[in-house]
């Protein structure tokens, strides 16, 4: 159920993110989600794209440092308390979420969150048992 996220090392300087988005645009790679974790000197750009293999290849070819990580795309109903329900399930199951961010647009009536966890597949099973939708790559239009 896990999908591939690409993490890119970004030096904190003007225009660096633009260089990455230009590179992706030039290679016709579509962004589905984006998040930046930063320190004073550098940041980690985390992206979900439609073709992660191709994106990783062009990034590496450009000289960037990039790696892939397994993450889950989890449905959050578009109602008050939607995210709260999800976090309650995870807390009850003692699951530690390293970080999370939301995905652009909607594949259906739900919003989707990207979750990074120690064991994505195990957590996917827990969530499904509780009736929470975990989107697969196909649903999100990811190769």
């Amino acid at each position: 159920m896990a999908i591939k996220q690409i993490t890119v090392f970004l030096e904190n300087r003007a225009g660096r993110l633009l260089e990455i988005t230009q590179l992706l645009a030039y290679n016709k790679i579509d962004l589905r989600a984006l998040n930046i974790a930063e320190t004073t000197d550098y940041g980690l750009l985390r992206i979900i794209v439609d073709d992660s293999e191709k994106a990783l290849a062009v990034l590496k070819e450009s000289g960037a440092i990039a790696t892939t990580t397994d993450v889950l795309a989890v449905a959050v109903p578009n109602i008050p308390g939607g995210l709260n329900t999800l976090l309650q399930v995870l807390a009850n199951a003692n699951v530690d979420v390293s970080y999370m961010y939301s995905i652009f647009g909607h594949a259906d009536e739900n919003a989707y969150m990207i979750l990074q966890l120690a064991d994505a597949d195990e957590v996917a099973g827990i969530l499904k048992n509780k009736g929470i939708v975990v989107a697969d790559a196909q649903k999100l239009g990811i190769n």
């Binding site: 090392f9 970004l10 030096e11 000197d41 550098y42 000289g63 790696t67």
Partner: protein
């Protein structure tokens, strides 16, 4: 049982050694005054005559010689013997400008080879050994020096010169070499080749003597483990003779300087004052036995520390620490001497690449030092915590080495400026 090549010199009492140095220095100063107008003028400029130098306590009065002097005086300006008495030249690579050419009489060659023989015996060499000399032969002093020393000890000498790894390994295994002399980087290369080809069982090496390059303790352990040998350091420079100016003994805690031939001093490279024993500073050598090319107070630019602590090997010769850097590269940050080579060593030990840049600045009247390090795929991960943890460890290791806080900044690969393929290592904004 420790063996010596020339025990009476290597284990002489301090009184005997000082008496010998006094006598040899006085004679050497007179020899230079009489035969080297270039240096005589330097002495005259300071109002000195040979009568002012009565022993080693007067050494500090003499003018220094530097590599610039050697270039100015090229090729014959510092020659102290008629060419008819000279039998050999050796030369530096000349990568940083004009070549340095050093001349040798037969007597000079003889004493130089004695120094190399001392190093071989200290490494356990005897006439039963097969000594593979894989330093370059030719103008470079490494091959000829160790070759001569090996003959003196009576080892079967394999004059391999450098390169051609297939042939090196064939002779090493077929003829059962027990001692190898080469650069530490070539030793590592040979060790890897031996490992890859599964030849470890077929080699009989027990010791290696490695010099002519900077190398770390980590490299020593690595080579010792891979080859199953004891790895000894050796120091020398073409200007004073070649390898064998100083050599390591079984204790492996520094190199004994052959004080009967070379008087060592440590000076402050800024003030040029002689520093007390145990101080870190620039190493200066005075050759007291060389006939053809006798350099007085030659500044090596190598930064080190001398120690007269009693050595377990029984030698009384003063020991020098492996050079920590070059005085040309020395930075003074917050009053502390910092060498790029120290920073490089810490980076390599912590798994970072040697692509780095040091930026020194002054902010609010206080010096700052920042080390830019290029990120690598090995260090990188999706976890910010893991990267910052590694960064913290690096900062701590730098603090331990330098004694001051240095900020670390991780930058993207290939982002550190390189000029002509060489990185610009230091940017000192304080001078701009």
């Amino acid at each position: 049982m420790e063996k010596y090549y020339q025990q009476e010199m290597e284990c002489a009492s301090r009184e005997e050694m000082v008496a010998l140095q006094n006598e040899r220095l006085v004679a050497q100063v007179k020899h230079v005054w009489d035969n080297v107008p270039y240096y005589r003028k330097k002495m005259e400029d300071k109002g000195l005559t040979p009568d002012d130098i009565k022993g080693i306590e007067d050494l500090h009065k003499l003018p220094f010689l530097t590599k610039d002097d050697l270039r100015d005086a090229y090729p014959y300006g510092l020659l102290a013997k008629p060419l008819a008495d000279c039998v050999r030249i050796q030369s530096t690579s000349g990568t940083t400008g004009k070549r340095v050419v050093a001349f040798y009489t037969q007597h000079d060659v003889d004493l130089w080879e004695d120094c190399c023989a001392r190093a071989l015996v200290a490494a356990g060499g005897t006439n039963e050994d097969v000594c593979q000399v894989s330093y370059g032969y030719g103008l470079f002093t490494g091959g000829p020096g160790m070759n001569g020393g090996s003959h003196k000890v009576g080892c079967l000498t394999l004059p391999m010169s450098s390169g051609n790894t297939d042939r090196q390994l064939q002779f090493m295994t077929d003829l059962g070499a027990t001692i190898i002399c080469c650069t530490p980087s070539y030793a590592e290369y040979l060790a890897e080749s031996i490992h890859e080809r599964g030849l470890r069982d077929q080699i009989k090496l027990k010791a290696g003597i490695f010099g002519a390059e900077a190398w770390s303790e980590e490299m020593r352990h690595d080579i010792e483990e891979k080859l199953g040998i004891k790895a000894f350091d050796i120091y020398g420079l073409t200007e004073t003779s070649g390898p064998g100016v100083a050599f390591e003994c079984s204790e492996q805690t520094g190199m004994h300087i052959n004080e009967d031939h070379f008087i060592a001093e440590i000076i402050d490279p800024e003030t040029l004052e002689v520093l007390p024993e145990g101080s870190q500073g620039e190493l200066v050598f005075t050759s007291i036995t060389k006939e053809a090319f006798p350099l007085l107070r030659y500044r090596t630019k190598d930064i080190t520390v001398l120690s007269r602590e009693k050595c377990s090997c029984g030698r009384t010769l003063v020991k020098m620490h492996k050079p920590m850097g070059r005085s040309d590269d020395m930075l003074i940050v917050k009053g502390v001497n910092v060498f790029p080579s120290q920073i490089e060593a810490v980076l390599l030990e912590n798994g970072y690449p040697a692509n780095y840049q040091i930026i020194v600045d002054r902010v609010n009247h206080s010096d700052t030092i920042e080390v830019l390090v290029e990120m690598t795929p090995e260090i990188f991960s999706d976890s910010l915590g893991s990267i910052t943890e590694k960064e913290k460890n690096l900062v701590a290791a730098l603090k331990a080495m330098l004694g001051i806080y240095a900020k670390v900044r991780l930058v993207e690969p290939k982002s550190i400026a390189r000029s002509e393929g060489k990185a610009v290592r230091v940017i000192d904004k304080r001078k701009i």
